[in-house]
């Protein structure tokens, strides 16, 4: 079993400390408390196949961590375990105080790879799905979802069916649905993998802004190094199966959020090269 030291996401002075007394923004389904995330010696296998081994991870409240790695390295499994959809075979995963699957299920929300919008629901009703599940009437749920729709640039598309939306818009509706679950921890599984390059770049910029205005503790799984370094505060480069941490990179360029400016910055380029070398090296070791 391979282990690596715990990687803490460094916090800068602008970080808002988790405040248990912060008022709940019920209108937007904002979580009551910001929660940190901690993985200790997490291992998991499907039958004989070991997919994760000795995974350690710390995410401070309201920070974003990206997991980058080759496909099939267990990133998605890690997200599902964090989400509380399953218990890991070994080790512990805790979100705030909760270290059992049921507790994590309450505190984290998992956004699957494809948008998974329901064709039988209008855009606004897809976004409001978690509110309906929680027992709101259709009208209440729509009212609650509407302001968020506006902020995500979806105004005017409330009553449209998913199949009439573009890929980028569908992804934003799916993101609205994820936010409206009102959980403090977001787990995003390659949210932009199915999009074309231009839409993907747009949505990365947009996600960065969305997380600035709606701060959440976020784990972003991706196979795109550039996406990870651009969106996340910290990027962990994982090896192929069983996943272990090869490299830890802090956000290379802080401040500007214009993607075109960030990704061409020499510091960013250097960080990307380092990550890519780590990915390639990790594969060669095997």
């Amino acid at each position: 079993m391979q282990t690596s030291p715990a990687h803490s996401v460094e916090t800068d002075e602008t970080l808002t400390e988790p405040n248990p007394d912060s008022p709940a923004d019920a209108d937007r389904g904002m979580p009551r408390v910001a929660h940190g995330l901690r993985l200790r010696g997490v291992g998991h296998s499907f039958g004989e196949l070991e997919v994760i081994s000795g995974l350690e991870l710390d995410v401070e409240p309201n920070r974003t961590v990206a997991l980058v790695g080759p496909s099939g390295c267990g990133k998605s499994t890690a997200l599902e375990l964090i989400a509380g959809l399953d218990e890991p075979r070994r080790g512990t995963i805790s979100i705030g105080e909760a270290s059992d699957a049921a507790g994590r299920l309450e505190r984290a929300v998992y956004m699957p790879q494809r948008d998974q919008l329901f064709p039988w629901l209008r855009a606004i009703d897809n976004a409001a799905l978690p509110l309906r599940i929680a027992g709101s009437s259709r009208r209440e749920a729509r009212e609650t979802a509407r302001p968020l729709f506006e902020r995500l640039g979806l105004t005017g598309f409330e009553r449209v069916r998913p199949r009439e939306l573009s890929g980028g818009m569908r992804q934003r509706v799916a993101f609205a649905r994820t936010l409206l679950a009102g959980k403090p921890v977001l787990l995003l599984d390659e949210p932009f993998a199915s999009l074309d390059a231009i839409t993907r770049a747009d949505l990365q910029e947009w996600l960065l802004e969305a997380l600035a205005t709606e701060p959440r503790t976020t784990v972003l799984v991706t196979h795109d190094v550039e996406e990870a370094l651009f969106v996340a505060d910290t990027t962990l480069v994982l090896s192929s199966r069983p996943a272990r941490v090869l490299e830890v990179l802090a956000r290379p360029v802080t401040g500007p959020t214009e993607r075109a400016a960030v990704v061409t910055d020499p510091v960013f380029v250097a960080a990307r090269d380092r990550a890519l070398r780590a990915l390639a090296g990790g594969d060669r070791e095997r």
Binding site: G84, A108, Y110, P112, F118, W120, I133
Partner: protein
């Protein structure tokens, strides 16, 4: 315009066949070929004539058959959907019942019909039971298949959004299965009229099936054809109604 282009070829073919039939019957060609009395081979015009003169009789009997069909179909729909739900929710029930449901389809309905008449009498009861038995299988199996096609990723997503078993069933599995349910219902309704006729043949004093038996015995061939025509019309209308319901309430099935 596009719909007209879709409808036109079968309509033309039908018209052509009717004209050919009319001509052949009028010239006694069919009767001669079969070595029959020309009276036994009605032309389409004679059938239409019989349809008009017997309209009250046909309507009364069609109404009886219609009630049997609708009653049996409704029963099969209610029981089938409940059954599919139970089998979906309980793997044990599914393993126990599914093979038996499939095996039950090998028992010919015509054989059961007289037994049901013995048990349930000559009223509407045995007809409803027979129609329900015929409709039950396609509805149950299709609904169950639909419930099982739910994407596991969607199930995970629903769990993560806070949905328990009941919410997952109501907001994900049931809507996913609805188009399947309706295509099962369409198959069921198309064969349901045959069930009603079998039921009437096994013992009855009214209904289109009963009228067919009477016409057969009395060599009222034109009216026999008229009864068959009304029966087909009923099946087509019921099928069309379900197709409309499908378009209105389960259109997402066509998205796949």
């Amino acid at each position: 315009m596009r719909r007209l282009r879709a409808i036109l070829p079968p309509l033309l073919l039908l018209a052509l066949l009717l004209v050919a039939w009319q001509f052949a019957a009028r010239q006694d060609m069919i009767a001669d070929f079969l070595g029959l009395d020309p009276q036994l081979v009605p032309a389409p015009s004679e059938i239409a004539d019989s349809l008009w003169t017997n309209r009250a009789l046909l309507a009364d009997n069609a109404w009886v058959t219609f009630q049997e069909v609708l009653g049996g179909f409704a029963l099969a729909l209610a029981v089938g959907v409940c059954f599919a739900t139970a089998l979906h929710l309980s793997p044990l029930l599914r393993r126990a019942f599914y093979p038996l449901i499939v095996a039950s389809q090998t028992v010919p309905i015509i054989v059961i019909a007289p037994i049901l008449v013995v048990w349930l009498g000559f009223g509407i009861g045995p007809k409803i039971a027979i129609v329900a038995l015929i409709c039950f299988f396609p509805i149950t199996v299709n609904t169950l298949d639909g419930l099982e096609t739910v994407d596991p990723e969607q199930r995970k997503m629903m769990r993560s959004l806070g949905a328990g078993r009941v919410q997952r069933f109501r907001r994900l599995e049931l809507p996913t299965a609805l188009p399947y349910l309706l295509s099962g219902a369409k198959i069921a309704i198309a064969v349901s009229v045959i069930g009603a006729v079998f039921g009437e043949w096994a013992g009855s004093s009214e209904g289109l099936g009963h009228l067919m038996l009477v016409d057969n015995a009395q060599l009222e061939v034109a009216r026999l054809f008229a009864a068959v025509f009304v029966l087909s019309l009923m099946a087509i209308a019921l099928f069309g109604a379900l197709a409309l319901l499908e378009r209105r309430f389960a259109w997402w099935g066509k998205d796949r």
